[in-house]
């Protein structure tokens, strides 16, 4: 039985205890094995890759987006692709690809029908609903701006970049994130830009000091390259955007090398913060000051630099309440000789670098990390952490310096006391296969309560991992629809099942150049039902549901509680 209590205008405050809730030390039990199921899904895709990676721009692409573009409740998959410099200069393109979920554990490529094969030199892809029609749209970040694909609802996407007012963005875009920062019900868009880079005037391979890695000649940069400013586009509510970067104070006057950007309510005050990871420089954390203006507080919040004041090569960004303290902490992947940085959210927009004390730093010191996610792979109700790795320079293989171009992925088990254990070698051989990893997205592809990992590699085929075996834990999945923003971006959920109290948030973007499933998924361990579900809608409304049976996917409309999924999804348009 589902109870419903609705309290409009409630202050959206979750618990702000910075310490993990008491939990028994984790007993080592049989872990699920991550099985490579790529071939059985019939997904066939190859990311283009030049053999030598003579230029930095050839090493950066490889995003993956899970997008339920036909709103049938089954996530579909989009992979970006990019040419190399010679191809681009010759006018040749690389083909991105969209795969439709057949609901039988296989996919069918629908790229051409959907019209999303050649958006641009495609880096990443994120999902939003720019015109708030309930059909998720696709925003592709490009070497040379962005491409906004409007989802027509009939299986076809239309490039509306120009009509949407985004054609003026011509810089090297990497990260992007939709989020309704001003609460008007329409999703605004932030785009982070990387280096100011001109294909006709590229620094020659190995020619300068910033083109040498441990005496090996390699591509030049990113050190020594000038960055580009970032852009915030305000949604006008009529299908167009206006650049408000300067008025909002998020234009990045330092011209840092922007990578992943994520909107999140990091302090549970009902207002969105914006986190921007910058490569080789300080991260930005923008706090809303109201009236459409933000203040950068990265240093004050202790998220700008590493714990010893070093600027890191900040790349992928994962957010998750791995401590059960009601707050999303941040995990950022980095270059080798650095470490995967875990920033514990202490509340009040204060963070502590716990990479070392959480046992993550030393396990990640020797890899180049990209896509990452907090990911409850065993449905025990505690977020584990996964990352894919892969070096930038193919030349390291020949140099015999103990570093490899292809690197294995890593999985860290949450020990429920603020620490993790590296279990990469205990979850089967698939994750350990060396790859040139880049994007990573998480989602329950087959709607069976098990979340898959979809990772795009810079070279060759993507890989899909599925956890199999281990304890048969319960789960619950939530598809939310707001009264304003129909995708309910940044709606937050607090779920209680027995002693387990978890929180999560619907987010656009994250990881590296990627988009995970917008549905929220919670592992419930042995609990057969969620006792209580509290939803903090972006509108400010707060809604409480009780007694939801486990092992179900629920659709929830703002103010309406659990509803048939058809009630919150747009009607499919068969002929347009």
């Amino acid at each position: 039985m589902v109870g419903l209590a609705l309290a409009l205008g409630g202050l959206c405050l979750l618990a702000q205890n910075s310490k993990p809730s008491p939990a028994s030390a984790r007993e080592p039990g049989p872990l699920p094995q991550l099985i490579d199921i790529t071939s059985s899904t019939r997904i066939r895709f190859n990311h283009h890759a030049s053999p030598d990676k003579k230029y930095l721009v050839e090493s950066m692409s490889g995003g993956v987006a899970l997008i339920d573009y036909d709103r049938d409740g089954w996530p579909d998959v989009y992979f970006t692709n990019a040419p190399d410099v010679d191809m681009q200069l010759a006018g040749k393109k690389a083909r991105s690809a969209l795969f439709h979920n057949n609901r039988d554990r296989t996919f069918t490529e629908v790229t051409d029908k959907a019209g999303v094969a050649h958006p641009c030199w495609a880096n990443g892809a994120v999902v939003g609903d720019y015109n708030n029609d309930g059909w998720p749209d696709l925003l592709v970040t490009c070497f040379g701006g962005v491409v906004m694909y409007r989802n027509n609802g009939d299986g076809v996407f239309v490039d509306v970049t120009r009509e949407a007012g985004l054609a003026g963005d011509t810089m090297w875009a990497m990260g992007a994130a939709f989020g309704d920062y001003d609460g008007d019900g329409f999703e605004d868009l932030f785009v982070s830009h990387y280096a100011a880079y001109e294909l006709h005037d590229l620094p020659a391979f190995g020619s300068m000091v910033n083109c040498v890695y441990h005496t090996i000649k390699v591509q030049c940069g990113p050190a020594g390259l000038e960055g580009s400013p970032d852009s915030l586009y305000h949604n006008n509510g009529d299908g167009t955007y206006t650049d408000v970067s300067k008025e909002a104070g998020v234009e990045d006057t330092k011209n840092l090398l922007g990578l992943t950007a994520v909107w999140s309510d990091l302090d549970n005050d009902g207002k969105l913060e914006l986190f921007v990871a910058n490569d080789g420089a300080q991260n930005y954390l923008y706090r809303s000051e109201g009236k459409g203006h933000f203040r950068e507080i990265g240093f004050e919040a202790d998220v700008a630099l590493a714990e010893n004041g070093n600027a890191l090569a900040n790349m992928g960004v994962a957010l998750g309440d791995y401590l059960h303290n009601g707050l999303p902490s941040i995990a950022i992947t980095h270059f080798s000789e650095q470490y995967l940085q875990v920033l514990r959210n202490d509340g009040g927009l204060r963070f502590t670098d716990v990479s070392n004390t959480s046992n993550i730093a030393r396990a990640t010191k020797h890899v180049v990390g990209w896509g990452d996610a907090f990911y409850d792979f065993d449905n025990d109700g505690w977020l584990d952490l996964i990352a894919v790795n892969g070096h930038v320079y193919p030349q390291v293989d020949e140099a015999k310096i103990g570093v490899s171009y292809r690197e294995p992925g890593q999985l860290f088990l949450n020990l429920r006391d603020g620490t993790f254990r590296d279990v990469s070698s205990q979850v089967g051989p698939a994750l350990k296969v060396p790859r040139v990893g880049r994007g990573l997205a998480i989602g329950d592809l087959f709607n069976d309560g098990v979340q898959e990992v979809v990772a795009e590699n810079l070279e060759g085929q993507p890989v899909i991992f599925r956890p199999e075996g281990g304890a048969r834990n319960h789960w619950i999945s939530l598809e939310l629809a707001g009264a304003g923003d129909k995708l309910a971006l940044n709606a937050r959920v607090k779920i209680t099942a027995g002693e387990l109290v978890q929180t999560d948030e619907v987010r656009s973007s994250g990881s590296y150049l990627s988009q995970s499933d917008l549905r929220l998924h919670f592992g419930l361990a042995a609990h057969r039902r969620a006792d209580k579900l509290e939803i903090f809608w972006p509108s400010g409304a707060r809604e409480t549901l009780t007694g939801l049976d486990a092992d179900h996917a629920y659709c929830i409309g703002e103010g309406a509680g659990v509803v048939p999924c058809g009630a919150i999804r747009p009607t499919r348009i068969l002929v347009r």
Binding site: S207, M208, V212, R350, T357, K365, H366, I401, G402, V403
Partner: protein, 231 residues
């Protein structure tokens, strides 16, 4: 002579340049003398190892250090130098051996404060905070004014909730070495958490000041290297 010159005019660029040249020429001469006098000695292998490490060939450098140790296991400084090379290696297998070499250095000379300090850093990065604290405290007992040791110990104490002592250590470290960026950065964070906003802001300003200086220096040196490397 170079040392004397440096002491006589520590801020005079021409003297500093002359000192630099003398030191470099002395190094070259000494190496040649060593090659003639004792080409198969442990000292020669240690010297060659240092040169190979500077040239960016850590694999061969390690080989030379190992040969030096084989010839003279008690050669002063050899384990420490080898440990330093290993600690900074990109090769996980090599860097994992650094701890053993620091311990070997300490077995030969338990009064080696620098080796204790570096061992403290290694143990901290391994998450063994108790061992890290012990190593740093031994280093501090041997060199009570060493700012880097104080900072290292403070970092360990911050991880183990010993923030009060950490704060004192960082303040003390900065009295000895006001340019210690890490100490400024960490102290700023501790002050902020203690609600001392003005102190936090001052330390952050100092950190940024030295960070800018470091960036400028870095650009100068990178530019110089780039010019040298250009064909």
């Amino acid at each position: 002579m170079a040392v004397k010159l440096g002491q006589m005019a520590p801020a005079e660029p021409q003297v500093l340049l002359a000192t630099f040249e003398i030191a470099r020429q002395t190094m070259d001469h000494t190496m040649l003398n060593m090659m003639v006098a004792a080409p198969d000695s442990a000292e020669m292998h240690m010297m060659m190892a240092g040169e190979l490490a500077r040239e960016g060939d850590p694999g061969k450098a390690v080989g030379q250090y190992r040969e030096a140790i084989r010839l003279n296991p008690a050669l002063p400084g050899v384990h420490f130098e080898l440990a330093e090379l290993m600690r900074t290696s990109v090769d996980p297998a090599m860097s994992a051996q650094a701890e053993a070499e620091y311990r070997a250095a300490l077995k030969m000379n338990a009064w080696d404060a620098l080796a204790w300090r570096q061992l403290g850093g290694i143990m901290n990065s391994k998450g063994d905070f108790k061992a890290a604290e012990e190593a740093y405290r031994k280093a501090l007992a041997l060199q009570p004014d060493d700012a880097e040791t104080k900072t290292g110990l403070a970092i360990v104490l911050i991880s183990t909730n010993g923030t009060d002592e950490a704060l004192g250590l960082l303040e003390s470290a900065l009295k000895t070495d006001p340019t210690n960026m890490i100490a400024h950065f960490r102290l700023s964070s501790l002050y902020r958490r203690a609600g001392r906003a003005a102190d936090a802001s001052r330390e952050m300003e100092a950190f940024r000041h030295y960070q800018e200086l470091k960036d400028k220096m870095s650009k100068v040196f990178k530019g110089r290297s780039a010019l040298v490397k250009q064909p």
